[in-house]
């Protein structure tokens, strides 16, 4: 019996955003990554077009982090000692993008300086041809001190600068505007605040095809359903034509996962929880895939094995079933 699949008709589309610039475009990237453009909800291939696959950014840190699980550090090995080596390893592991997180202390334990942040950023750009996201520690004053010189030293690279938040976006947006970069706009799981920040950033004159939004989320078991609902609502609004919600979304699935007890703790947990490493990677992969299905265009991951597994999931989700 033939079954007719009901289809929604949408009037809006997610904006296309291109991260990175090749030499011809004023940068030094080997490739660029374009996300967005969808005219339907995630992976509803029968209903609209999804011109660009969701992509995987791999998080690296400007020096070997002392607050990361040793499961992660063991997996990356010596590469984690040096951001350039780490970026190369991430690229080999299958990253589409590199996300460089700047820790507020440097390798020597002293507060990070703008000079060392610029050095680390440039080292990563030289080591890998992938487009880059640079996220500062998340403290307004320090973030501005670091991101402005980074933006200037890498002018034209179309780096994504983060994190623009409602209390601290002006300086970061101005730095992106002046140096041909992009920004990531983060709000705390709230559709109204997400939209408001997009309006404020747009008001500063940064074209919205240089903005991605990070609606924040929680890991599996830690509020992912709230994050899911917010992302779904933003995406529905985008497809209904609300211009200020039509930005691609980034979520930090790895960061959220590696805060959870299930990923972090190997001892003193019920035996039924099984092998620690396998569980932690499963947690990151399941979190990331759920977020892809709620509309994420970029998932930021931490474990090398998660990269391959999420990539395989994206391959399957993007396979358009043959008609009939």
């Amino acid at each position: 019996m033939p079954v007719e699949i009901p289809k929604d008709t949408w009037t809006g589309a997610v904006r296309e955003v291109t991260i990175g610039a090749t030499a011809a475009e004023g940068g030094t990237r080997a490739t660029t990554v374009t996300i967005g453009g969808a005219t339907t909800m995630p992976f509803m291939h029968f209903e609209g077009s999804i011109p660009h696959r969701p992509v995987i950014a791999v998080e690296i840190v400007n020096h070997r982090p002392d607050d990361w699980s040793h499961l992660l550090l063991d997996a990356w090995g010596d590469a984690a000692n040096d951001p350039a080596a780490w970026a190369k390893a991430a690229e080999q592991a299958g990253a589409d993008l590199i996300q460089l997180s700047l820790n507020q202390t440097g390798a020597d334990g002293n507060p990070i300086t703008p000079e060392s942040a610029v050095t680390a950023t440039k080292a990563v750009l030289e080591a890998s041809g992938l487009p880059l996201l640079v996220f500062a520690p998340g403290q307004a004053e320090l973030d501005n001190e670091l991101l402005v010189p980074i933006a200037e030293a890498t002018k034209g690279e179309r780096i994504v600068l983060g994190i623009a938040e409602d209390k601290n976006y002006r300086t970061i947006v101005a730095a992106a505007l002046a140096n041909d970069h992009l920004v990531s706009a983060r709000t705390a799981m709230d559709v109204n605040l997400a939209k408001q920040l997009n309006i404020l950033i747009g008001d500063m004159g940064l074209p919205l095809d240089r903005v991605i939004m990070d609606p924040t989320t929680g890991a599996l078991g830690y509020g992912i359903e709230y994050g899911y609902s917010v992302m779904e609502r933003l995406r529905l609004a985008a497809l209904q034509g609300d211009a200020m919600t039509q930005l691609p979304m980034l979520v930090t699935a790895g960061y959220e996962t590696w805060k959870t007890k299930e990923a972090k703790v190997g001892e003193g947990v019920p035996q039924e929880w099984g092998d620690w490493t396998a569980r932690a990677i499963n947690w990151e992969v399941v979190t990331a895939v759920a977020l892809l299905e709620s509309g994420a265009d970029i998932v930021v991951l931490r474990h090398p094995e998660s990269i391959a597994r999420v990539r395989a999931a994206i391959d399957e989700l993007m396979a358009v079933p043959a008609a009939g």
Partner: protein, 307 residues
């Protein structure tokens, strides 16, 4: 439109100070000004007053009744304080604001209202909170609030159902449902109970400069659904002008015509369309944008008018 003046409200810093100083002159002045501005009753929201409610409420009744004759609405959760105030009332039939369908409140508060021949505001809120859907809110009214009134022989004409306005900033999905709850309540019981809402709640947590516009657009929409009573600011001249335009069907200005169209569309269970609006007129465009957020068609943001 029957307006219960909202301005004696403990959220206001001036009210808070005047109350602490027992500044009778301040409250008498605020009462007189609201009544002169058209308030037909006065809400007295003095907070829970756990410690001194039984002293503060009678004092307030005495000083306010010395200067105005309108009904006083006791807006508090402190039933003993309310009762002390009710004993002091000598003029118009007072109002208790409010009970809800939470078992303990619904048990006690209507009995006090009956004892003192007070009207009673009843919120469509049960112990699990405020339902989003219009139908669920109406169900609370007809299955819990009205039956309780009947049970104790309290006149349904004195039971004022408040289906609860929530803010467009954070509870946006409630806004269109409230309009439908107001509409449905009028046919859910025969004769229909009076219905009232706290209008300005719709713009709680909205930047101050945008609040009056949201209030009056929502007011026009609720009038379209049949609302005839609200707790509101009687000194908001723009709000009162919209109410006047609708009541007198004054189509003499373009903006007035738009408010009438908005009202009529809601009354007909239709929606305003872009063709109804002259988008080149900033005032009309702002009304259009406000309707879109209040119907939950466009996500609210503080800068929604700039979009």
């Amino acid at each position: 439109m029957y307006i219960i003046g909202e301005n004696i409200h403990i959220i206001s810093e001036k009210v808070k100070i005047a109350l602490a100083e027992r500044d009778a002159k301040f409250f008498q002045d605020l009462a007189v000004r609201q009544v002169e501005a058209g308030a037909q009753a006065l809400d007295l929201n003095l907070g829970p007053r756990k410690k001194d409610g039984e002293e503060v409420f009678p004092w307030m009744v005495e000083i306010v009744e010395a200067v105005v004759d309108v009904p006083l609405s006791f807006d508090s959760t402190n039933l003993a304080g309310i009762e002390a105030g009710l004993k002091k009332v000598t003029k118009a039939q007072p109002i208790i604001n409010s009970t809800s369908a939470e078992p303990e409140r619904l048990e006690k508060v209507p009995l006090v209202a009956k004892q003192y021949n007070s009207r009673l505001v009843a919120l469509t809120m049960g112990k699990s909170g405020i339902p989003v859907g219009a139908d669920e809110r109406v169900t609370i009214a007809i299955e819990q609030l009205i039956p309780r009134a009947l049970e104790i022989d309290f006149p349904v004409s004195d039971l004022i159902i408040d289906p609860l306005v929530l803010t467009v900033s954070g509870c946006q999905e409630y806004c269109p449902e409230l309009i439908e709850a107001v509409r449905t309540l009028q046919v859910a019981w025969d004769p229909p109970p009076p219905i009232s809402v706290g209008l300005s709640n719709v713009s709680n947590a909205v930047p101050r400069e945008n609040r009056p516009l949201i209030n009056r657009v929502y007011g026009a929409m609720l009038m379209g659904a049949g609302l005839q009573m609200m707790i509101a600011d009687p000194m908001d001249d723009d709000l009162k002008n919209v109410i006047r335009i609708i009541e007198q069907r004054d189509a003499s200005t373009p903006v007035g015509r738009l408010y009438l169209t908005l009202h009529d569309r809601i009354a007909a269970m239709e929606e305003l369309t872009p063709d109804d609006v002259d988008m080149s007129d900033p005032e009309q465009a702002a009304i259009w944008k406000t309707v879109q957020i209040l119907l939950n068609r466009v996500i609210y943001a503080d800068s929604y008018l700039q979009q």
